[in-house]
Symmetry: C2
Subunit: 232 residues, 2 copies
């Protein structure tokens, strides 16, 4: 149904020469100390074998936001994660298929949800580190770059990092998130003073044991909705 709709729209759009609206979703996660993006491998000319960010046409009965949620669910089986509109890419020739304007979104996926995800068998879906991306179809390299910039910026003035970590985490894990995404190291003592002083996190009252080192205190986020906080 989705494929026939796509083909139908392509025909209509070519005939009437007008723009159709698509949505592309950049899904980001942090895994093994690397910031990664979910990509799918394309089957259609002229991009056979190329990778792209998941996307699809916006249907007549859904809002653009709803389309982004649907793509997230269909292409990655992920629900309830952080999703926000990123930017709208509207150059005339960005898609050889026809005039497609793409409203791009970015989603943040916690690494524990991600583990669930990779147990499913999508042979044409893969996480790539943003620093080792394959060549992407369309203008998707620009879209991914814009998403990474937005994430880096928001890390500094919001509590958005809550959407990348599991419910409880150690302060070292939290700091690692910042270091991975920003690509620089931070001072441990200053970082801890800051996140505790700003009440970004609170102790969960448990410890992470089982490692050959001193057990780490576990923390929770004080808020799990987006708030403005000057962290950096």
């Amino acid at each position: 149904m989705c494929i026939s709709y796509t083909k139908y729209m392509a025909k209509v759009a070519r005939k009437y020469k007008f723009a159709v609206i698509a949505s592309d979703v950049v899904m980001l996660t942090v895994r093994d100390g690397k910031l990664e993006v979910l990509c799918i491998q394309m089957q259609k000319a002229p991009f056979i074998g190329k990778w792209a960010v998941p996307g699809g046409l916006v249907q007549p009965t859904e809002s653009v936001d709803e389309a982004a949620h649907r793509i997230l669910a269909e292409k990655a089986g992920i629900h309830g994660v952080y999703l926000e509109q990123l930017y709208t890419f509207g150059k005339v020739r960005r898609d050889p298929f026809g005039r497609v304007v793409s409203v791009a979104y970015f989603a943040l996926v916690p690494s524990d949800a991600l583990r669930l995800k990779t147990t499913k068998e999508y042979k044409d879906v893969q996480w790539f580190p943003v620093k080792k991306l394959p060549g992407l179809a369309y203008d998707h390299a620009d879209i991914v770059a814009t998403a990474v910039q937005r994430l880096q910026a928001k890390l500094g003035y919001t509590n958005i990092v809550y959407s990348l970590l599991p419910k409880t985490f150690t302060l070292s894990e939290l700091q690692g998130m910042y270091e991975t995404i920003l690509g620089k190291t931070l001072d441990k003592r200053n970082f801890r003073k800051k996140v505790i002083g700003l009440k970004l996190v609170k102790p969960a009252g448990e410890q992470r044991k089982g490692q050959a080192s001193r057990p780490a205190e576990l923390y929770r986020f004080a808020a799990t909705e987006l708030k403005k906080v000057e962290i950096l």
Copy 2:
């Protein structure tokens, strides 16, 4: 030509039930100590007599950015001002005319360009203070509110204010811009220390005379492209 295209598209869009792409441009200026928005008065049902922000359909041969520039030029006769993409509004029923997704932009117009503008005779075009807006058609009240928020935020971390002032200006005029847009007063001495210390402005070497008070030094912006600067 533009009107017939619009009617044609309306027909096509209704027939094939799919979304067309429009762009709306929120033009902002500061005049007489008030932040104002340019609105046009509509002629078509169901919004006869209602005010709206200038907008129009994106043509097949132009990018969405180009459409925004065209709307700015057509509806307001303004060229070369600051223009950036704001947000894409994509709810299903936001336009009774059909499924229209709007890529909103915001433009900043210096008050001297604006004086030129208001000498022209547009009986259906008017500047309204954002605090005294008439009821707006569609979801344009949301769009304007989003634009104002974006402007307030960018004022704090960029030099964007350059796009609202003439080439030379006094520090009091500059401070007035900040106070008007942010809706709060600032300390004169601290403000001056800040903008000079950050090298946001440099002296123009002239003075503004002709007022019943001490002449004020005139300044210029050190840069007239958008830069990140922590001002507030």
